[in-house]
């Protein structure tokens, strides 16, 4: 069966430096795969490669079984992307931002659905008609998450998605991710938050200096053991 997301011996260069070196993984439909790594490990670059912003220097990258290089537009239309710092437009309200970006994606959504999505991310109702420049970082992130929900794409790429969220909002976000995966969405998230990754992911891949150096999977309905992953992460980061 074709995996929605697959990297085959993927190597990437950015400005002459190797950021990924022969990384291979696949994410199954309805699976949450978390790529864990420190700064500069190549996590964000991996997401950008799936979106066609970075061309592989080696190997291949596939979305729904098709090479991204062959049809970037098809790959992007299947993916909702949540960047690390959710940079929506500060001079527009949450509704206006959602409206603009959904228009941009060519997606027609009813106004009522905006509120459903914003309710799911718990963005206060009174804030929704305010400009984003008055929002906290967490509120902006919630708006961006709502956008990703409304896109209703089969694949979700999340770059440090809980950055800026308070602990309650992080827990709510983790529940949301699980719900989405349960509904069949394929989710690849990159993070350096070991606890968060273990809470939400079905599998965790450990990325270090451009190489996938470890993999941990949830078994028997249990979550991935945070202690084990943290020990491996700490060991790898210090060696």
């Amino acid at each position: 069966m074709t995996s929605p997301l697959e990297a085959r011996s993927l190597s990437l260069n950015r400005e002459g430096n190797a950021v990924l070196n022969g990384v291979s993984f696949a994410v199954a439909e309805g699976e949450v795969f978390a790529l864990l790594g420190g700064n500069g490990a190549g996590k964000s670059s991996t997401l950008l490669a799936f979106l066609g912003f970075l061309e592989p220097s080696g190997g291949e990258i596939l979305v729904n079984g098709k090479s991204v290089a062959d049809d970037i537009a098809a790959a992007r239309s299947a993916i909702a992307y949540l960047p690390e710092a959710a940079a929506l437009y500060g001079h527009m309200t949450a509704y206006e931002n959602l409206n603009y970006f959904l228009d941009l994606a060519g997606k027609s959504v009813k106004k009522a659905d905006y509120d459903d999505a914003l309710n799911r991310v718990a963005l206060p109702r009174e804030a929704r008609s305010r400009r984003l420049q008055s929002y906290s970082k967490g509120m902006r992130q919630k708006t961006a998450i709502a956008l990703a929900l409304l896109r209703e794409t089969p694949i979700l790429l999340l770059d440090e998605p809980t950055s800026g969220l308070d602990p309650v909002a992080i827990d709510e976000f983790h529940d949301l991710v699980k719900d989405l995966a349960g509904a069949g969405q394929t989710i690849l998230m990159v993070t350096h938050d070991v606890y968060g990754a273990c809470q939400v992911a079905d599998r965790v891949g450990l990325l270090r200096r451009g190489q996938l150096v470890g993999s941990f999977a949830a078994e028997n309905g249990e979550r991935i053991d945070t202690e084990t992953v943290h020990a491996a992460f700490a060991e790898r980061e210090t060696t």
């Binding site: 950008l48 979106l51 912003f53 970037i72 537009a73 992007r76 239309s77 993916i79 992307y81 960047p83 710092a85 940079a87 929506l88 437009y89 001079h91 527009m92 206006e96 603009y100 970006f101 228009d103 941009l104 994606a105 060519g106 896109r151």
Partner: protein, 433 residues
């Protein structure tokens, strides 16, 4: 049966047009919320209104001046002719107004009307001095330029376009929104093209609306209005292409702005200035004062020359008066007007050189204008408005033609010693612009 490929092409192109309309609507809604862009667009609209208002005010002033001069011209001439008793005196004292009225589109580009005279009062004396002694009314504007629509379209509109477009990509990169936008849009074409196009079109129409309203008020022809619109659209598209190429460079907004303003300076100021200097070096132009001096010296010298020498030189040009060219008195009008014409004839090579050098300069300026969109647009507007160098030279030629008619009217009366008949003055040539 419709070919499947053709059907696909029709369907695909219709679908593509539909998507473009959708993208344009989205970006127009986005533009309405962009206060920075709205400020520049509003400024463009206000500047366009100001430029056409200045132009119309100047044209109205010129029209009023001409109307007053036409009235005064008739009265002055009637007054001057009142006490005359011979044809020579009538020709000497009667001034005739010549003028180039501004065209219906002159308000948009006052062009050479600021640096070349567009009205004269001539009489039957040597003409070239009368043409070249005329002061231009707005010589200072000839130096610094005037804020008319041509200047706005040629020089200011590109700057406004730069300010509207230079950081479309760079600002999104700085805000770390670039990748999200492209990932959401799917392709850069469906994002940047409509975003830039809606700004270009908004600027185009906001500049154009005051021009069209003013053109309609002034009675400019639809053809001229359409041509002017095409010129404006052309310059905006060329500058859009330039901005698009530069702004693709992965650099900060400030670097892009500096590069684009530098390029604007080069194309709008440096290249025109260098080309002007090069043209002036390549095509030296005799000064109008030299023509005036040569003609006056010739006329003054004639007083001391033997009359036969003057008349024989004159008869080479006008052999038809051979039988009537004997000068018996110390002063005769026909001798007087003969040496006036000799003054023109003496200055003729310099006048021809002056004229051909101006035309050559104009031609070369037209060639150099292909290096500078600014010069090209200004020249195009001046041509449409009839305020270009060729139009002003044509006006000077019309003054010469009119002066030739004056001579043709008076010479038979002067050389045949016809008795002065005031009624025949009704047949004096009238200048028809």
């Amino acid at each position: 049966m419709v070919d499947t490929g053709l059907r696909c092409r029709i369907f695909c192109s219709a679908e593509g047009a539909g998507l473009m309309v959708r993208d344009m609507l989205r970006e127009s809604r986005f533009l309405v919320k962009d206060r920075g862009a709205l400020f520049w667009l509003l400024l463009a609209f206000i500047l366009s209104i100001i430029s056409v208002a200045f132009g119309i005010a100047e044209v109205r002033d010129q029209q009023r001046t001409i109307a007053e001069l036409v009235q005064e011209d008739r009265a002055d001439r009637a007054n001057a002719l009142e006490g005359q008793e011979d044809w020579g005196g009538a020709a000497y004292y009667a001034f005739h107004l010549t003028y180039a009225p501004p065209s219906e589109f002159a308000f948009a580009a006052l062009g050479q009307r600021d640096s070349s005279p567009w009205k004269h009062r001539v009489r039957m004396l040597a003409l070239e001095g009368q043409i070249h002694e005329a002061d231009t009314r707005n010589a200072d504007f000839g130096l610094v330029g005037r804020f008319d629509f041509a200047f706005l379209a040629a020089s200011v509109a590109p700057l406004l376009l730069i300010l509207l477009l230079y950081d479309l990509r760079a600002a999104e990169r700085t805000a770390r929104r670039h990748d999200l936008l492209l990932a959401t849009a799917g392709s850069s074409k469906s994002l940047w093209l409509p975003r830039a196009l809606i700004r270009v079109m908004a600027l185009f129409f906001l500049l154009l609306i005051p021009l069209w309203v003013a053109s309609a008020v002034e009675g400019a022809s639809l053809g001229v209005m359409i041509q002017a619109s095409v010129v404006l659209l052309g310059t905006l598209l060329i500058w859009w292409l330039i901005i698009e190429l530069i702004s693709r460079i992965d650099a900060s907004s400030s670097v892009l702005l500096t590069a684009l303003v530098g390029l604007w300076l080069a194309l709008a100021i440096v290249i025109p200035a260098l080309s002007k200097a090069a043209i002036e070096t390549r095509q030296p132009l005799p000064k109008g004062g030299e023509i005036l001096l040569l003609q006056r010296e010739t006329v003054n010298d004639a007083w001391d020359m033997p009359k036969e020498a003057t008349m024989s030189a004159f008869l080479e040009e006008h052999p038809e008066w051979n039988a009537h060219a004997t000068i018996e008195q110390p002063f005769e009008w026909k001798w007087y007007y003969a040496f006036q014409q000799l003054g023109d004839m003496k200055a003729e090579p310099l006048v021809a050189q002056y004229r051909s050098a101006r035309l050559a300069r104009d031609h070369e300026a037209g060639v150099f204008a292909f290096l500078s969109p600014t010069s090209f647009v200004e020249r195009s507007f001046e041509k449409l408005a009839g305020t270009d160098a060729a139009s002003m030279i044509a006006y000077e030629e019309s003054v010469r033609d009119f002066h030739a008619q004056l001579r043709a009217f008076h010479y038979p009366k002067l050389f045949k010693d016809e008795p002065f008949d005031r009624d025949l003055l009704e047949g004096l040539p009238a200048y028809d612009p």
